[in-house]
C-alpha cells in the first residue's frame, strides 16, 4: 500500500513538474508562433509545390481530379519535397544547474528545461522530429513526443555534480542542441561535445548562467561550495578574487566559442535574470535557418 502511494506520489510529483514545465514552455512557444514566423499548418507538413501533366507512368490515384476537370489534360498535384529535421536536445539537469542565487529567479535547470521544451514544441508544430539526447529513442515528431520530452525533462539528476553531454548515436546532418552552464571540468565537456561533433551533426550551444556566476559579488572571508558540496574553495578576501574569476569565466566562454567556430557550430550565452524569449528566438532562428 505504502509502496503504491509512494509510486503515486512520485508520479504526481513528476507529472506536476511536467505540467508546470509544459505550461511554461507552451507560453514561451506561443509567444513565438504569433510572431513573424507563423507557418501554415495545413497537412502533415506537406506544401503544395506544382501541378504537372500526368504521364502514363503515374498512378491513377495520384491524379488530381478537381484540377483535371477544369481542362482536358490530367494533372498531378506535386508536393514540396520535404526532408524532416531530427533535433536532439540536451538540457543539463545536474546538481550545478539546480542553483539560483535569488528566490525570484528560476534555477538554471528550470530555464534550460523550459527552453528545451519550448523549442521542442515549436519544432513539433513545424513537423520536425525532436528527442532528448539522454533518451535512447530516436527523435520523433508529433505532440505525443512532446509529452514524452516534457516528462523526461521534468526529471533532474541532482546526484551528479556536473553532468556531461549525453553520448548518443546521431546521424549525420541531424541537429544537436546543448543547454548547460558548461561550468564543469573542461576536459569532460570538451570530450562530450567532440563526440557529437565527430558524428557530423550541427550543434548549438546555449550556456545558461546565474547572474551571481557572472558578477561574483562576494566580499570578506568566504567559503564557496559547489551545490553538492563536492568541491569547495575558501578565500579570506573574496573581493580581491573578483577580477581573476571574471577572467576565468571569460576564458571558458571563449573556449566554447572557439569550439563552436571550429566545428561550425553556434554558441549563445544566456543569463537567468534575462527573459527566456531571447535564447528561444535565437535557437528558433538558427535551427530554422539551417532548414
Amino acid at each position: 500500500m505504502s509502496q503504491m502511494t509512494g509510486i503515486r506520489d512520485t508520479a504526481e510529483n513528476i507529472t506536476q513538474g511536467m505540467a508546470a514545465l509544459m505550461a511554461d514552455a507552451h507560453l514561451l512557444a506561443a509567444s513565438i508562433s504569433h510572431g513573424a514566423h507563423g507557418r501554415r499548418r495545413q497537412g502533415e507538413g506537406e506544401e503544395f509545390w506544382q501541378y504537372r501533366a500526368a504521364i502514363s507512368t503515374d498512378a491513377i490515384r495520384d491524379i488530381d481530379w478537381r484540377r483535371s476537370a477544369r481542362s482536358d489534360d490530367h494533372f498531378i498535384r506535386q508536393h514540396e519535397w520535404q526532408n524532416t529535421q531530427s533535433v536532439h536536445l540536451w538540457a543539463d539537469r545536474g546538481a550545478s544547474m539546480l542553483f539560483r542565487s535569488q528566490d525570484d529567479l528560476p534555477t538554471k535547470a528550470n530555464r534550460a528545461s523550459v527552453l528545451a521544451l519550448a523549442i521542442s514544441i515549436l519544432l513539433a508544430k513545424a513537423g520536425e522530429k525532436v528527442g532528448p539526447m539522454d533518451m535512447a529513442d530516436p527523435p520523433k515528431s508529433g505532440f505525443v513526443q512532446i509529452d514524452k520530452v516534457a516528462l523526461h525533462l521534468a526529471q533532474t539528476n541532482p546526484d551528479q555534480e556536473f553532468s556531461t553531454p549525453a553520448r548518443k548515436h546521431m546521424r549525420q546532418g541531424q541537429k544537436a542542441v546543448f543547454i548547460s552552464d558548461f561550468l564543469g571540468d573542461w576536459d569532460q565537456i570538451f570530450e562530450g561535445l567532440s563526440y557529437a561533433a565527430n558524428q557530423n551533426v550541427s550543434g548549438y550551444l546555449v550556456q545558461v548562467l546565474d547572474p551571481v556566476e557572472e558578477i561574483f559579488p562576494f566580499k570578506g572571508r568566504t567559503k564557496l561550495f559547489s551545490v553538492n558540496e563536492g568541491h569547495n574553495f575558501e578565500t579570506l578576501r573574496a573581493q580581491s578574487l573578483r577580477d581573476e574569476y571574471r577572467e576565468k569565466l571569460l576564458g571558458r566562454k571563449e573556449a566554447l566559442q572557439q569550439l563552436a567556430t571550429k566545428t561550425g557550430w553556434q554558441y549563445y550565452c544566456h543569463r537567468t535574470d534575462e527573459t527566456a524569449l531571447t535564447p528561444l528566438l535565437w535557437l528558433y532562428q538558427v535551427l530554422g535557418g539551417k532548414t
Binding site: 542553483f99 561550468l183 574553495f233 578574487l241
Partner: protein, 927 residues
C-alpha cells in the same frame, strides 16, 4: 562624574579584568570573522586561483565596540555594583532593630513594615541573629536579648501595629546598656525630637554601628481644641517647616440621625517657614456641642486626631428664680453667684420655667423655689426622667413652703423639716458649722474643704431609712448639706443652703465652683483645667489607636485621675475620652504645651530615608545590558553575513508586534471604564461592576473574578451578564450597576464626600455592594485587626450601613439558587455579614424559615477573597489555586455557587422568601 560616589562594588578586584578589554580588541581584530558559507556552482573555475591578500577581512570597528561594551558590562555586572551603598559596615553579627512604633510612625507605617521586611530578609540571608523591638512597649526587664533568626520575625511584621504614644527612650537606653554582647542597631525612627533620644543613641553606638531610617514627610499633629469667640479653634503643628502645604481638617460629630460624619471642614495652608497654622471652625454653638473629634484629612496618625471630650461643649443651664428682679441689689441675689460661677463654662438661660424647658437645657437650677404647680411638676419630672439634671438651692421660701413635710416629693431628694435651722446667729447657740470632709464614693470625693467655709443656716432633712445614701455632703454635725437622688435617667440635687452668701459662705469659696463642676453643671474637658482629677476613677469611653481611628473602649478598666493627669500612656492608658459621672475628659496624644520638632541626629550617624531603597544592586541591570548588546551583536553579525533575510526580519517584527499587542491589550482592559457612550450598553445588559482600588493586582483579580462569575452565570442560569466593568467611585455613574464588588485594599483612598453620598444613594436605591477584605487567612474577619479590616472600618464608617449580623441559616442567600450553608471564597471560615433581620421575625409553622419580609441587604461583608476563587483568564483557566485536590475543587464550586446565589439575590430580591405564602395560596386555590 555622574554620581559615581554613590556606586560601590561588592567584588572590586574583578574590575581589573577590564584591563583585558584592549587585548580582546586586538584579538578580535586578529581573528577573522567566521567565513560566510555560500553555494557557488562555478567553484571549479576558482580552484586554480591564489589568494593574494594575506590579511583577512576585518570585523567592522563598531561591531568590535559593541562586543567590547557587552563584555565590559558583564565584567562590571559580576563585580557587583551597588547604587547607594549603606555605609554601615557589618561590625557585629547580632542585629537589633528598634522601632519607635509611635503614633508619629503610623502615617507611613506601611513603608516601615516593608522596610522592616527588607531588613529582616537581608538579615535572614546573612544568617544574622536578630531581634525586633517595638519601643512603645516597655522592655522586659532583666532579660537578655532574645536573638532569633530573622525568619521568625518576618511573619509578625504584617500584623505589627504602632501604639498611640511615644516610646520611653530612657527605659530602653538603660535596658540596652545592660546587655553584655555587642550588636548592630537599625533604628526606624519616627523623626520626632525627644530629649532622651540621644541617650539611647549613645548606648546603641557603644554597642556597634547604628543606622537610622526616617520618614520624609513632616509629622502633623493637632493641639487640643479650644473655643475662641464661640468658634472652635485647633492649631495644627508640623514637625518641620518645609514647603507650602495645604491641610484640611474635619470636625466630626453625630449628625441628626446619630451617624458620625464631618460636620464642618476647614482648609488652611502652612506657609513656607511656618510650622503651625490655626484652623478655625465657624459654626453655631449647637453644632459645636456635637463635635466629638477633629481629624486631619489624609493623615493616619493619632497625632492628627483630637477628641474633644467636654472641651468644646458648653452646657445649657437654665436658672429659675422664684423672684423676678427683686428690689434688692443684684449683687446679693442668688442668680448673681450662679451666673458668675457658670458663665465662663456654660450657656446660661434665665427665663421662666416654661420657656426654659422649651430650650431643652442640660441643667435646670432652681434657686429657692418653693412650690410648683402640678403642670410644672409634671413637666420638670418628665424632663429629669429623660436625663436632665435638676439642682435646687434652699432658701427661705423652700423652708417655708413645707412642701415635703409628710412625704417625699418627686422633685426633692429628701423630706424636709419645716422651717430649717440657723446656727451661730445672734439668737442661737453654737458657732456656724464647718463642712465635713467628703466621703469616698460621693461625687465630691477628693475636693479639699477650705477652712473658711461656714454654714449658718440650712434646711434640715427628715430622718429617713434612705437618707444616708442620699447625702453627698454633710456638715460636721452630720446634718446633710447636699443630697441627691436618681430620678429616671436624671438626678435631682438639693443644696441645703442658698446660692448666695446669706446662709453660708460656701458660694464665696472656690469649692462652690468645683462642686458645680463635679455635678457636671459646668464642664471643662481640658485635663489641665480639671483641678480635681485626683481620687476619681475615670472610665475610658473611646480610645484612639495609633492610626487615629477612634473606637469605643470596652475592654479597658478605669484609671485614677492622677494617672490620667500624668499622661503616662500605656496599654492601660491609651489616649481617648475618659468619663467620670457626666463629665468627659479628653486625653489627646499631644499635650497642650508639647511642640513637634525634628530629630537632630549627630554627625556621623547614617540617616536613611524610608522611601529610598537603600541599596540597589546593579548587577542584574548590567547583565541585562550585556545581554541586550549581545542580542544586538547577533543581529549585526547576521546582517553582516547576509543572513538577516527578509523572512527572518519579518518574524522578528511579528513577534515584536504580538508582544506589544498583548501588553496593550491588558492596558486596555485596565482602562475599561464607564464612559457616557457606554452607559446605554450597560443599561441594556446585566453587568457586574467592581470598584477600582488603584492597586493593579487587586483590580486585575477583581476583573478576572467577575469575568469568571459572569461566565458561570451564563452557563448555569438565565442571567447573561456582559463583560464586567471597573468603576471609579469618584467619577462613574453607579446607578447602572445592580451589584458592585469592592475588594478592600490598604492602598485605597477613602472616598470623598461626594462619592460617599453617591454610594449611599446607590445602597438606598437597591444596589448591593459586596465588601471583601480578602484576609480571612489572617484573622477570622472583620475584627479590625488586619490592615484591610481597618481600612474597611474606615470606609464603612461613613456609609449608611444598617446593623449587621452573620448570615442566618434561613436567609434567602442560602437558597436563592443553590442550597448553601457556607460561603467560601479562596479562603473559608470567615463569617459573612448582612443586614440584621427584624427583631420580630416569626417562624411560621410548616415553613423552615422565618418570614423576613422584603428588603434586600444593601451590603454583604466578608473576607473570603471571592474574586480570587472566581477568577479566570481570558482563556478560561482559573487564575488562582483554591485549596487542594478534590476539596479545593469543591470549595471553588461552592464559591461559584455563592456567586450565583448572590447575583440571583441581587436580581430577584426576596422572591424566594415569598414561598412562605405558598401554603396560603394553595389553600385559597382549594388544593
Amino acid at each position: 562624574m555622574f554620581g559615581l560616589e554613590n556606586i560601590s562594588f561588592l567584588s572590586a578586584p574583578l574590575l581589573w579584568t577590564l584591563v583585558l578589554l584592549p587585548l580582546l580588541w586586538w584579538l578580535l581584530r586578529a581573528v577573522p570573522p567566521a567565513p560566510i558559507r555560500i553555494k557557488f556552482p562555478a567553484v571549479l573555475l576558482l580552484l586554480g586561483l591564489n589568494d593574494k591578500e594575506t590579511t583577512p577581512d576585518r570585523t567592522p570597528w563598531w561591531l568590535l565596540a559593541l562586543r567590547i561594551f557587552a563584555l565590559g558590562a558583564i565584567i562590571i555586572g559580576f563585580a557587583g555594583p551597588v547604587l547607594n551603598p549603606s555605609n554601615t559596615k557589618v561590625s557585629q553579627k547580632y542585629l537589633v532593630i528598634l522601632m519607635d512604633a509611635s503614633w508619629a510612625s503610623a502615617q507611613d507605617w506601611g513603608k516601615r513594615q516593608s522596610k522592616l521586611t527588607e531588613i529582616l530578609r537581608d538579615a535572614d540571608q546573612n544568617t544574622r541573629p536578630t531581634v525586633v523591638f517595638k519601643m512603645t512597649d516597655p522592655p522586659q526587664n532583666a532579660e537578655a536579648l532574645n536573638f532569633t533568626t530573622a525568619a521568625i520575625s518576618l511573619p509578625r511584621v504584617e500584623t505589627m501595629a504602632p501604639n498611640p504614644w511615644r516610646p520611653d527612650f530612657v527605659q530602653w537606653a538603660d535596658y540596652l546598656a545592660k546587655q553584655e554582647i555587642g550588636f548592630d542597631t537599625v533604628w526606624l525612627s519616627d523623626g520626632l525630637y525627644s530629649v532622651d533620644r540621644e541617650k539611647l543613641l549613645d548606648v546603641a553606638r557603644s554597642k556597634g554601628s547604628v543606622s537610622i531610617f526616617e520618614g520624609e514627610n513632616p509629622v502633623i499633629s493637632l493641639s487640643s481644641p479650644t473655643v475662641k469667640d464661640s468658634n472652635l479653634n485647633v492649631i495644627a503643628h508640623r514637625s518641620w517647616a518645609g514647603n507650602v502645604a495645604d491641610i484640611t481638617a474635619h470636625a466630626i460629630g453625630p449628625d441628626p440621625s446619630g451617624v458620625s460624619r464631618a460636620l464642618a471642614s476647614v482648609t488652611a495652608q502652612f506657609s513656607n517657614d511656618e510650622d503651625q497654622v490655626d484652623l478655625m471652625f465657624e459654626m453655631p454653638a449647637d453644632l459645636r456641642n456635637r463635635i466629638t473629634s477633629v481629624a486631619v484629612e489624609g493623615q493616619r496618625s493619632a497625632g492628627a486626631v483630637v477628641v474633644t471630650g467636654d472641651t468644646v461643649q458648653r452646657r445649657k443651664v437654665a436658672l429659675i428664680s422664684s423672684t423676678k428682679q427683686q428690689e434688692s441689689s443684684n449683687l446679693v441675689s442668688e442668680a448673681f453667684y450662679l451666673r458668675k460661677a457658670l458663665v465662663p463654662t456654660a450657656d446660661v438661660i434665665e427665663n421662666d420655667l416654661k420657656t426654659a424647658l422649651l430650650a431643652d437645657p442640660d441643667v435646670l437650677i432652681f434657686t429657692d423655689v418653693g412650690s410648683l404647680t402640678k403642670v410644672e411638676t409634671d413637666a420638670v419630672s418628665a424632663w429629669v426622667n429623660a436625663g436632665g439634671l435638676l439642682v435646687r438651692f434652699a432658701g427661705p421660701k423652700l423652708a417655708a413652703s413645707q412642701v415635703n413635710l409628710e412625704q417625699e416629693r418627686t422633685l426633692l431628694p429628701v423630706r424636709l423639716r419645716a422651717g430649717g435651722r440657723s446656727v451661730g446667729g445672734a439668737m442661737s447657740w453654737g458657732a456656724p458649722k464647718k463642712l465635713q470632709e467628703f466621703v469616698e464614693g460621693t461625687p465630691f470625693y477628693g475636693l479639699k474643704v477650705p477652712d473658711d467655709v461656714a454654714v449658718s443656716s440650712q434646711v434640715i432633712a427628715q430622718p429617713d431609712p434612705n437618707l444616708a445614701e442620699r447625702v453627698v455632703a454633710a456638715l460636721q454635725d452630720g446634718t446633710p448639706l447636699v443630697t441627691q437622688k436618681e430620678l429616671g435617667n436624671g438626678r435631682v440635687v438639693l443644696f441645703h443652703v442658698t446660692a448666695n452668701a446669706e446662709w453660708s459662705t460656701l458660694p464665696l469659696s472656690g469649692l462652690f465652683v468645683q462642686m458645680l463642676e463635679r455635678l457636671a453643671v459646668s464642664t471643662s474637658g481640658n485635663l489641665e483645667e480639671i483641678q480635681d482629677l485626683a481620687g476619681l476613677i475615670w472610665k475610658p469611653e473611646q480610645v484612639i489607636d495609633a492610626f487615629g481611628h477612634i473606637r469605643d473602649a470596652t475592654d479597658i478598666s478605669g484609671v485614677d485621675g492622677t494617672v490620667l493627669a500624668s499622661r503616662a500612656f500605656s496599654d492601660d492608658l491609651p489616649p481617648g475620652v475618659y468619663s467620670n459621672g457626666g463629665r468627659k475628659a479628653a486625653l489627646n496624644v499631644m499635650g497642650n504645651d508639647e511642640i513637634l520638632a525634628k530629630t537632630e541626629w549627630p554627625a556621623g550617624v547614617p540617616v536613611l530615608s524610608l522611601a529610598k531603597a537603600t541599596q540597589i544592586l546593579l548587577k542584574p541591570h548590567f547583565l541585562l545590558l550585556a545581554m541586550g548588546l549581545m542580542l544586538l551583536d547577533i543581529f549585526a553579525s547576521l546582517w553582516l553575513s547576509g543572513k538577516l533575510t527578509k523572512q527572518f526580519a519579518g518574524q522578528i517584527i511579528l513577534i515584536g508586534f504580538v508582544t506589544l499587542f498583548t501588553s496593550s491589550d491588558t492596558v486596555f482592559a485596565q482602562t475599561d471604564r464607564v464612559s457616557d457612550d457606554k452607559i446605554s450598553k450597560l443599561i441594556n445588559n446585566t453587568v457586574l461592576g467592581y470598584v477600582i482600588t488603584g492597586n493593579t493586582k487587586v483590580d486585575a483579580a477583581s476583573h478576572a473574578g467577575l469575568l469568571g462569575l459572569s461566565a458561570e452565570l451564563f452557563k448555569r442560569t438565565s442571567v447573561e451578564p456582559i463583560t464586567p466593568v471597573g468603576v471609579d467611585i469618584e467619577q462613574d455613574e453607579l446607578s447602572v450597576f445592580p451589584f458592585l464588588y469592592w475588594p478592600i485594599s490598604e492602598s485605597q483612598r477613602s472616598p470623598s464626600d461626594q462619592a460617599v453620598e453617591k454610594i449611599n444613594r446607590f445602597l438606598h436605591s437597591g444596589g448591593l455592594i459586596l465588601f471583601d477584605t480578602r484576609d480571612a487567612h489572617l484573622s477570622s474577619g472583620l475584627s479590625g485587626a488586619t490592615p484591610n479590616g481597618r481600612m474597611l472600618q474606615k470606609i464603612a464608617a461613613r456609609l449608611e450601613i444598617p446593623p449587621l449580623e452573620p448570615v442566618p441559616d434561613d436567609h434567602v442567600l442560602t437558597r436563592s439558587f443553590y442550597l448553601l450553608q457556607e460561603f467560601p471564597g479562596r479562603h473559608r471560615g470567615a463569617n459573612v455579614w448582612i443586614e440584621a433581620a427584624p427583631v420580630n421575625a416569626q417562624k411560621l409553622s410548616g415553613v423552615p424559615f422565618r418570614n423576613l419580609n422584603d428588603g434586600v441587604t444593601p451590603v454583604v461583608i466578608g473576607a473570603n477573597d471571592w474574586a480570587a476563587a472566581w477568577a479566570i483568564t481570558q482563556n478560561g483557566r482559573y487564575m488562582f489555586p483554591v485549596g487542594r485536590g478534590e476539596t479545593g475543587k469543591r470549595q471553588r464550586e461552592f464559591a461559584q455557587r455563592f456567586g450565583v446565589n448572590l447575583i440571583m439575590y441581587v436580581l430577584t430580591g426576596n422572591y424566594k422568601s415569598d414561598q412562605v405564602h405558598i401554603p396560603a395560596l394553595l389553600d385559597r386555590l382549594g388544593q
